[in-house]
């Protein structure tokens, strides 16, 4: 499969009154054409910041991309001038945000908001743009699309609005769609519908999707590969099967144990004790050490190296690394 996006050693910081928050600390991953990568992790682990960095939508200041490369096809996005970046946003890479209730401008009609990106980036006529908007609303499953174009966002329900937001993101036929918690603000039945919509869209358009979420149920449904983030780092990445059935990192296992399951009898969930480390001054070793039930001495001191478990499965944990003992002895 052809590589669409390659992120290497991405580091993003925010300068606040309290000091520098290192939100993303060296994230690397690849994305191939037409695949769905889910980035999961708890609040504040840097998954949204990673997504916004790809779009270069980090507010600067206070945000700052301090290191790394983001290669999209043949373009390096981090150093790309703003006017070039504008031609990529919405055209090659589109983004969907969490809350459909606020992501649409309340004072403009849906039709206007749907077509404005298309009008900006291509030289279509108003009529063609409208035609395209109707097609897309139809694709995302909104009945009577033609009549709905002249309505305002407040005249739609939450699920409908998220469909509109998705249609809006797809109108310029992007190759990459970044969805930042697209179902979090929706109720469960609508969630399922929206996820099905994502699957259908990918089948029909072949768009690659980066799905940012904290919901493993969402991931299980549509992801091809999963990257687990913790304290600004990707600690484990693998195919869906590898993460769900052969996860090796104690944090990933902890996450899976804290999800309710229908196929197990015991009703009690096992939470992960403690809280993530302070990203003002992240620890030198593995950031999960303090919460890890299997922590060793080395974990606290040195950040674990990457261990390849298969061609697709990588984990950053000393438990998987035979060098842990040697390193400990040499210290």
């Amino acid at each position: 499969m052809e590589k669409l996006l390659e992120v290497r050693d991405l580091e993003v910081s925010f300068l606040t009154y309290g000091g520098e928050v290192q939100a993303v600390r060296g994230v690397s991953f690849d994305l191939h054409r037409g695949e769905t990568l889910a980035i999961v992790g708890e609040s504040g682990c840097g998954k949204s910041v990673t997504a916004n960095s790809i779009m270069r939508l980090i507010p600067q200041p206070p945000g700052r991309i301090t290191n790394g490369t983001i290669q999209f096809k043949d373009k390096e996005l981090i150093t790309l001038p703003e006017n070039q970046m504008r031609k990529i946003r919405g055209v090659d890479i589109s983004m969907i945000f969490q809350d459909p209730m606020t992501a649409l401008n309340p004072t403009l009609t849906v039709g206007n908001q749907l077509t404005e990106g298309l009008k900006q980036h291509t030289s279509v006529s108003a009529k063609q743009a409208k035609q395209k908007a109707v097609e897309l609303l139809d694709l995302v499953g909104i009945p009577n699309p033609e009549e709905r174009l002249s309505l305002y966002p407040h005249q739609f329900s939450g699920g409908m609005r998220q469909r509109i937001v998705i249609a809006m993101a797809l109108i310029c036929e992007p190759e990459l769609l970044i969805a930042d918690e697209p179902t979090t603000a929706l109720d469960v039945t609508i969630q399922a519908q929206i996820l099905e919509l994502f699957e259908r869209i990918q089948e029909q358009t072949g768009v690659a999707i980066i799905l940012i979420t904290h919901d493993l149920g969402v991931v299980a449904k549509i992801a091809d590969r999963i990257a687990v983030m913790y304290a600004g780092k990707i600690i484990e990445v693998g195919t869906k099967k590898e993460i769900f059935y052969q996860s090796q990192h104690p944090y990933t296992k902890g996450l899976l144990n804290s999800v309710p399951r229908l196929d197990r009898r015991e009703g009690k969930l096992i939470p992960i004790d403690g809280t993530p480390p302070d990203l003002f001054s992240p620890p030198a070793g593995c950031p999960f050490t303090a919460r890890c039930p299997k922590a060793m001495e080395v974990c606290d001191r040195v950040y674990p190296l990457e261990t390849k478990l298969s061609s697709t499965h990588e984990v950053e944990c000393w438990l998987q690394d035979e060098r842990a003992n040697k390193l400990l002895a040499s210290k």
Partner: protein, 310 residues
């Protein structure tokens, strides 16, 4: 929509009627009459004059006569200047006051919004501090103080603009400046704060994610939403500008409505008081009505009527 307009129109008439009634009784509650100063006239002449203007009738009858004059829009001649009718005075003075008011509002709204948007975009930058300093000064300095300062500096000392009267566009500069600075400052501050709030909204991020040009994001997506509070206070500002014109007209010797308005009250010139008050209150209520319509046009969520069932 039509239903709403008709409803609003009826309410407008009711409002004007209440104002007119209050004015009438207040006017007659002030001691004195139009003929008090004419001491040398004997009692017969005085009585004849009062009879001519129906001032000898009971107050209630006078009130009815007054209502009739409002209904027919004919307020009769002025008592103090019997050769002129009230409608003559209005016809001569109002266009000038209206011109001053409209120019002032345009200047205040346009410059206020521009200043506010610039300040918001360069938040905590030099332009922001500069704009907000101007705004604070504008709010704190009363227009009559500003007017005298402007005359002293720009007209007397430097001789750039004419000091008074109303005959060419150049004459309009100083009075407009004096009158517009306060409202402009208020609008600038309001625009800035609401713009800062709107710029953090998700739909602005959505617009940026679409790769739109920055000016389009600001004008189409941000400004339209940020203008709501500005439109809301526009009604109040209108009233302020309207009364402000009286003072400013006096200072700059502009032959507008203000002079008649104040003189008529001092001289108990009942028909002129009635005519100007009714006219002005109707004008103000009508402007407020326009503001409400504008509000509905800016924000589709505000419904003018309770139909549609959604």
């Amino acid at each position: 929509m039509t239903k709403y307009i008709i409803k609003r129109f009826l309410i407008m008439i009711g409002t004007v009627l209440i104002i007119a009634t209050l004015t009438f009784f207040l006017m007659h509650a002030i001691p004195g009459s139009p003929f008090n100063e004419e001491r040398n006239s004997n009692e017969v002449v005085q009585a004849n004059l009062e009879a001519h203007y129906h001032l000898n009738e009971p107050l209630f009858i006078q009130y009815l006569i007054y209502l009739k004059s409002i209904a027919t829009l004919d307020f009769g001649p002025s008592i103090k200047h019997p050769t002129q009718t009230v409608n003559d005075l209005l016809g001569r003075g109002f266009p000038i006051s209206f011109e001053l008011g409209i120019v002032t509002i345009l200047v205040a709204v346009i410059s206020g919004i521009i200043l506010g948007v610039l300040a918001a975009l360069k938040h905590n930058g030099i332009i922001d501090y500069l704009a907000m300093t101007i705004a604070v000064l504008g709010i704190s300095i009363p227009n009559f103080v500003l007017a005298t300062l402007l005359i002293q500096k720009l007209a007397v000392d430097w001789d750039i603009f004419p000091a008074a009267t109303w005959s060419s566009p150049l004459h309009m500069v100083l009075p407009t400046l004096a009158l517009a600075t306060g409202p402009m400052a208020i609008i600038a501050r309001l625009t800035r704060s609401s713009m800062l709030e709107v710029l953090t909204q998700d739909y602005i991020k959505t617009a940026r994610a679409k790769g739109l040009m920055p000016y389009k994001i600001i004008i189409k997506h941000a400004l339209k939403n940020a203008l709501m509070p500005v439109v809301t206070i526009l009604g109040t500002l209108l009233a302020g500008i309207l009364t402000g014109t009286f003072v400013i007209e006096k200072i700059f010797a502009i032959p507008g409505m203000g002079r008649y308005f104040i003189e008529s009250i001092n001289q108990r010139d009942y028909p002129v008081i009635m005519g100007t008050t009714v006219f002005y209150s109707f004008f103000l209520v009508f402007m407020l009505f326009l503001v409400d319509i504008a509000y509905g046009l800016l924000d589709p969520r505000i419904k003018m009527h309770k139909k549609e069932g959604e």
